[in-house]
Symmetry: C2
Subunit: 293 residues, 2 copies
DNA sequence: TTTCATATATCATTTATCCAGATATCGGCC
DNA sequence: GGCCGATATCTGGATAAATGATATATGAAA
């Protein structure tokens, strides 16, 4: 049994047929059949049920499949690890919350890109849930998300600590005034945003339920609307302070227990940390820990 | 790059030479040289320094080596997983503390062996530290050790809860009497035994330090000596109750915080749980949880 | 310095393996 | 029955791997 055999096996299993697998692997069907047969002979057990519309996995095949996938991943990692000579280079695909990107990342990223011009840096934004999913599936090497995260395959490291505040238009004096008025509207970045649930919890704890939800695609839009008196939102304090709407937005501090939020960098435990990633973490890490104290 | 290449690479790295690797792999040196060279060409970086007494790893080779080892392990696991049809069979090598083996395992093991006669069961005893080490290095599929365990590569599951008690000869009324006399001797199974540190902590908290340490290879010997008034020991209550020295040993209960100890079953997170192991856990698990309540 | 023991590198040759294409076979479906 | 979409089997040729003989480098001992 060899990695090549498992690659073929995996393709057949995934595509449900030897012909389709052959096409994907740029070879012919007879070849695929023969390799699968050899693998079955070696293991002493059939891996596929053959039927007229293709093949399906036997129980043995089902047990083998995850190993085939891990094998492919391991080979790719091995190649990267050996090739990587310590000088950051090549692709680095990471994720981030939009708020983190806006608030913290821009200066760091530009410094990083300048320091390591040979790295092709890609930053994708999404919600914490989406990013966790992408990192777990290895579509991202890592991501900055909103803590806490508890996922057995991921490791997390605190990168930033933010104070979340409730933002409303200038006229509003306090949270309670806002809630008292009824017809509360809250503005969030998008569905699944980690701040949304938190904001709803905060309001619920103060007796406000069933607030109307508004979604905007950019932070600018949210702040603009909040400034215009459309509703309230929950964002890191620094983000509001730095915006051009500061003058027209009232910031309502929350008790520490609710205000504190940690931005974590997550990555797979079992995956190779490329030099590009290590260098990225070096850039992001130290200034932050100072800032947090 | 393929698993076969990495196998050759690993052998060369481990044995420090292509000739030695060739001998181990049952092939010829020229072949090994060629394969290594191909691998180096493919990766675009040398993996070995060649010198007159063999070869040594370059940095790239050092980075690659762990992947080669993981690859070999993964292939072996894959084979086992596919071959394993759910009926427990073949070798099952597990570890246990000697006390756990004596106290809990004997009836379970005999039932297990009777239920699955095709399993070749091997039980090795050792200290918690040794067993953790062996499981991490995959020399054991799993082990019953004394909790708590915090090791990133291992997962743990509570199997038994024991009450530890201090055992002395009949004449001794209380812990304090024992400590007060000075010249305290404590008897442990062997160096590194997890109960030893715990016993020393317990005594230290009561003002007894510098107790003399005696080591005996078997639990029988320990109990015999304790009964004879040689010293004190720390063991699960049930173990003393069940022994033939019960009459001559005084049992001193400890406060709950010190007495409670959990026996965990540990195994590697990333390794395949064979049917033989799953069946073993089925045998060990359920009666225990009842007993603990 | 010469020689020797012990390494790796290279090369021609044999051997085994893999691949491609043609063909046979099987199982539904109209 | 005949067709369609599958997998199974077979064979020649291309490709890659293993082998054995030989060349080369290096340090240690005579």
């Amino acid at each position: 049994m060899d990695a090549a055999d498992l690659r073929i096996f995996e393709a057949v299993a995934r595509l449900g047929g030897m012909n389709r697998a052959a096409a994907e692997l740029n070879t012919v069907q007879s070849n695929v059949t023969a390799r699968v047969r050899l693998l079955e002979d070696e293991l002493g057990t059939p891996l596929f049920h053959r039927h007229s519309r293709g093949v399906s996995l036997t129980p043995a095949g089902q047990r083998l499949l995850p190993y085939a996938e891990r094998m492919a991943q391991l080979l790719a990692d091995a190649k990267r690890a050996a090739t990587d000579d310590g000088a950051p280079r090549g692709p680095l695909v990471i994720g981030s919350l939009e708020t983190t990107a806006a608030l913290r990342l821009s200066p760091l990223l530009s410094r990083y890109a300048a320091a390591w011009p040979e790295v092709d840096l890609v930053l994708r934004t999404g919600t914490t849930g989406e990013l966790v999913e992408h990192v777990a599936a290895r579509r991202l090497e890592g991501a900055l998300v909103c803590g806490p995260i508890d996922h057995p395959e991921l490791q997390a490291e605190v990168m930033f600590r933010e104070e979340l505040v409730l933002a409303t238009a200038r006229g509003v004096r306090s949270l309670d005034e806002l809630i008292g008025k009824g017809e509360l509207k809250i503005v969030v970045l998008r569905a699944g945003c980690s701040y949304r649930q938190r904001l709803e919890d905060i309001l619920a704890r103060r007796g406000a339920v069933g607030a109307r939800l508004l979604e905007f695609g950019t932070i600018e839009a949210i702040l603009g609307c909040v400034a215009a008196g459309l509703g309230a939102t929950l964002l890191p304090r620094a983000l509001i302070t730095a915006s051009r709407y500061t003058e027209r937005i009232a910031v309502h501090a929350l008790p520490v227990s609710e205000a504190h939020v940690e931005t974590l960098f997550i990555r797979r435990r079992d995956s190779y940390a490329s030099s590009a990633l290590s260098a990225f973490l070096e850039h992001v890490r130290p200034p932050v820990l100072q800032a947090a104290e």
